[in-house]
């Protein structure tokens, strides 16, 4: 099986995504869940870069721009997420996601 760089990248990002997904689903610590989400996000970013770099028209830096936006958004999201975690911690003296279910309708 001959693997071009694109496929390698895709396999890598898939692995990264799966790790993130498992971390998200399996962890009960909210911070680790957030980390998992970041991993999945970065897997997607990696795909953007890969498809741009090895895709048909790499000249306009569209992939890079997307990724830059995405990172910025992810940073904001992480900030909000961590703030929420702190709020949860203040409220219930731990960060266990299973216990943070008081907002259900």
């Amino acid at each position: 099986m001959n693997l071009d760089p694109l496929h390698l990248c895709l396999i890598f990002s898939s692995a990264l995504f799966c790790i993130g997904l498992i971390g998200t689903l399996a962890r009960s610590n909210t911070i680790l869940v957030l980390l998992g989400i970041e991993l999945m996000l970065n897997a997607a970013n990696l795909n953007f870069i890969a498809f741009w770099r090895y895709g048909p028209s790499p000249v306009p830096a569209t992939g890079v721009l997307f990724v830059l936006f995405s990172i910025a958004v992810a940073a904001a999201e992480a900030a909000v997420g961590l703030a929420l975690v702190i709020a949860i911690y203040r409220h219930q003296k731990n960060v266990r996601l299973q216990e943070a279910n008081h907002l259900k309708g």
Partner: protein
């Protein structure tokens, strides 16, 4: 001095002014109120004398002064004053008798707290009565007629704290009003038929030939001439006011008022207003005599009612024991005489008797008042007695009055005036029954007056109040003396030999009375009857004087059922209470029940109906319309509940669902071939 017709209004206006002053004077202003009333009456008397000279200068003229009261339609409603001998004589009589009674009242009402109000009401009465006399319009006459009724109401009920007085006042007003409605209808009919209510209006008045001719030419229900029907309706008013049968029931009760009131209003003047009214509209009453064969002459009815009243009043008077009630029934009887005279065609005889009666009946009432005042308001003749000694002036004047009333011959005025009436009744060609009734009443009058005098003045005092009686001050006795003089002197104005008064009233220079010889037989008969009445009365009551108040009346022991019937006044009050009173109540009950149950019931039924519709529509709304909406929203809410169960709050659960979804999505993409 003479008074022109334009200024005639002054005569009623002066007492009216005095009444206004009396109304506004506070209670302590006794002198002012009485002074104003007496002064106004005095001036009115002088003015009346002036009017009399004017009227006598042209006795045949009906001097009238008419004016518009207010605009009505294309014309105006007009009122006016009238000056003729009838008006003038009546005015002089009313002001003179009124003046004396006013003076008497100063003494009689001396102790009353409402002295000023009494004089206010008396002046109001005088004003209304004089207005009635000078009116040249049936409407103005009616207005004053009603005001006279008002004054009578106020004065009968003057001691309104006594329930009997309050009831008597109401009874008088209502009973006379029944008659007044007849007068009102007659007046409306007259107005409608002739377009005027003025008596004399230069040829256009209702008592002038044009109008009378047209009235007598038309006939109405039952073939009556319109003039007859109107005349009878007007006579209804006279029946009520003059206490004629069958509306006489109020007059005896009216004696609840102070005695000067009884003298002035219910003996001398107001009750005579009915007689005056018929005399005033005499041309209208008599015009149907021209018809060949009408079903009924108005005057026949007048004569019949008068005769019945004369006899009935005298009969009832026999068995009464209240001094004022005896005089009241005597008044009823004498008014019957006057009506009888009017009915048989001699209105001058009626007016002559009216004038003489006013003086001697006022005298008798004031004499009775003097007795009552002296005897501390004791009115029952059984409780009195022996007053001849202590009250000499009163006794003497009362005796003169009695003789004038009974018709003691030649010297006393009542003899001449009554003789004129009997003569006229004798000459009436329709029937002689009224004449016989009149003769019977002569005997009875002499009889009951003898009884009254014997019981009151002779014998010994039968109660404390009578034994302490003493003569009244001269402010009360002086009017008695003056009236007594008049009760004698007035008769000579109208003797058959020299009928001056009759001539002036008829507007002729000289009237030939029937000579003494011509009417001699009748005169002897009536003298005999008077003597009979006096003799029998004296035989029963004078020779064997009553010894105690409780002793039964000699007549009562002799004829118990007759006496009881007469004493009960033939039971008219009870009869009316049982018939008219009940009917009245029944109508009231029906009217009330109609309102309460039928009309209000109908409305309530509508309301219930409305409520029923409301209930029905509420139910319809609930089940049919609201039900559908409810069901829809119920299911919506159930669905929402079901979906909301998926929201657990478990973030991991959500993530799992997302993951599974993602996997499924990927599988779908792969199996679908990436399209």
């Amino acid at each position: 001095m003479s008074l022109s017709v334009q200024l005639l209004w002054l005569i009623p206006a002066l007492p009216l002014l005095a009444a206004g002053i009396g109304a506004l004077t506070p209670r302590r202003g006794r002198g002012l109120a009485a002074g104003a009333a007496i002064g106004a009456m005095g001036i009115a008397f002088l003015l009346s004398c002036g009017a009399l000279t004017t009227a006598l200068a042209h006795p045949a003229a009906h001097a009238a002064h008419n004016f518009a009261w207010f605009d009505l339609g294309l014309g105006a409603l007009r009122l006016g004053w009238l000056l003729d001998p009838l008006t003038a004589f009546m005015c002089v009589m009313v002001t003179f008798v009124g003046l004396l009674i006013f003076i008497f009242s100063v003494g009689y009402m001396h102790e009353d707290a409402n002295f000023t109000r009494f004089f206010c009401f008396l002046s109001l009465f005088a004003a209304a009565m004089l207005g009635l006399l000078v009116a040249n319009s049936l409407l103005l006459l009616f207005i004053c007629w009603e005001l006279v009724g008002l004054a009578s109401y106020l004065l009968i009920g003057f001691w309104f704290h006594k329930p009997a007085a309050a009831a008597a006042a109401k009874k008088a007003f209502i009973t006379t009003r029944i008659g007044d409605l007849g007068l009102l209808l007659g007046m409306l009919w007259l107005y409608d038929s002739t377009g005027s209510l003025l008596f004399y209006d230069g040829g256009a008045g209702v008592l002038e030939p044009n109008a009378l001719g047209s009235l007598v030419a038309q006939t109405t229900v039952g073939g009556l001439a319109v003039s007859t029907a109107i005349g009878l309706l007007i006579f209804c008013g006279a029946i009520g006011k003059s206490g004629q049968f069958p509306l006489h029931v109020w007059l005896p009760d009216a004696m609840e008022g102070p005695t000067p009131v009884s003298a002035l209003i219910h003996a001398a003047t107001m009750v005579a207003a009915g007689v005056f009214l018929i005399a005033r509209v005499y041309p209208l009453m008599a015009v149907d005599q021209l018809l060949a064969a009408p079903p009924l002459h108005a005057l026949t009815v007048v004569a019949t009612i008068g005769a019945i009243t004369a006899l009935m009043g005298a009969l009832i008077g026999v068995a009464q024991s209240d001094i004022k009630r005896i005089l009241a029934f005597s008044t009823v009887s004498q008014l019957g005489y006057m009506m009888l005279a009017l009915g048989v065609g001699s209105w001058v005889a009626a007016i002559f008797h009216l004038l003489t009666h006013a003086f001697f009946k006022a005298l008798l009432f004031l004499g009775a008042g003097s007795v009552i005042h002296a005897a501390h308001h004791e009115q029952d003749i059984r409780q009195l007695g022996g007053l001849r000694g202590p009250m000499r002036t009163t006794f003497a004047t009362f005796a003169i009055g009695t003789m004038a009333l009974t018709g003691v011959p030649f010297l006393f005025s009542g003899f001449w005036s009554k003789e004129g009436i009997l003569h006229a009744a004798h000459e009436w060609d329709v029937s002689h029954l009224p004449f016989y009734a009149g003769l019977a009443a002569v005997v009875l009058t002499a009889f009951y007056m003898t009884r009254l005098v014997a019981e009151t003045f002779y014998g010994s005092a039968r109660s404390d109040s009578a034994s302490h009686a003493h003569e009244n001050p001269s402010v009360m006795t002086l009017p008695l003396v003056i009236l007594a003089v008049c009760a004698i002197a007035l008769g000579f104005l109208g003797t058959p030999v020299w009928p001056w008064l009759q001539a002036r009233l008829l507007g002729q220079e000289e009237v030939h009375g029937h000579s003494l010889l011509e009417g001699g037989g009748l005169m002897i008969l009536s003298i005999f009857l008077v003597a009979l009445g006096l003799g029998v009365g004296w035989a029963i009551y004078g020779r064997k004087l009553r010894v105690s108040a409780a002793a039964p009346d000699p007549l009562e022991t002799a004829l118990p059922p007759v006496f009881a019937t007469l004493r009960a006044k033939f039971g008219f009050d009870e009869l009316y209470a049982a018939t008219v009173g009940r009917l009245n109540n029944a109508i009231a009950v029906v009217a009330d029940l109609l309102d309460r149950y039928v009309w209000d019931g109908a409305i309530r039924f509508l309301a219930v109906l409305g409520e029923f519709v409301g209930v029905v529509s509420r139910e319809t709304d609930g089940d049919a319309l609201n039900g559908g909406f409810n069901a829809t929203s119920e299911s919506l809410r159930d669905g929402g509940k079901a979906y909301s169960r998926a929201q657990t709050g478990e973030a991991h659960g959500y993530l799992r669902v997302i993951a599974i979804g993602f996997v499924l999505l990927v599988l779908a993409v792969m199996l679908g071939g990436g399209r």
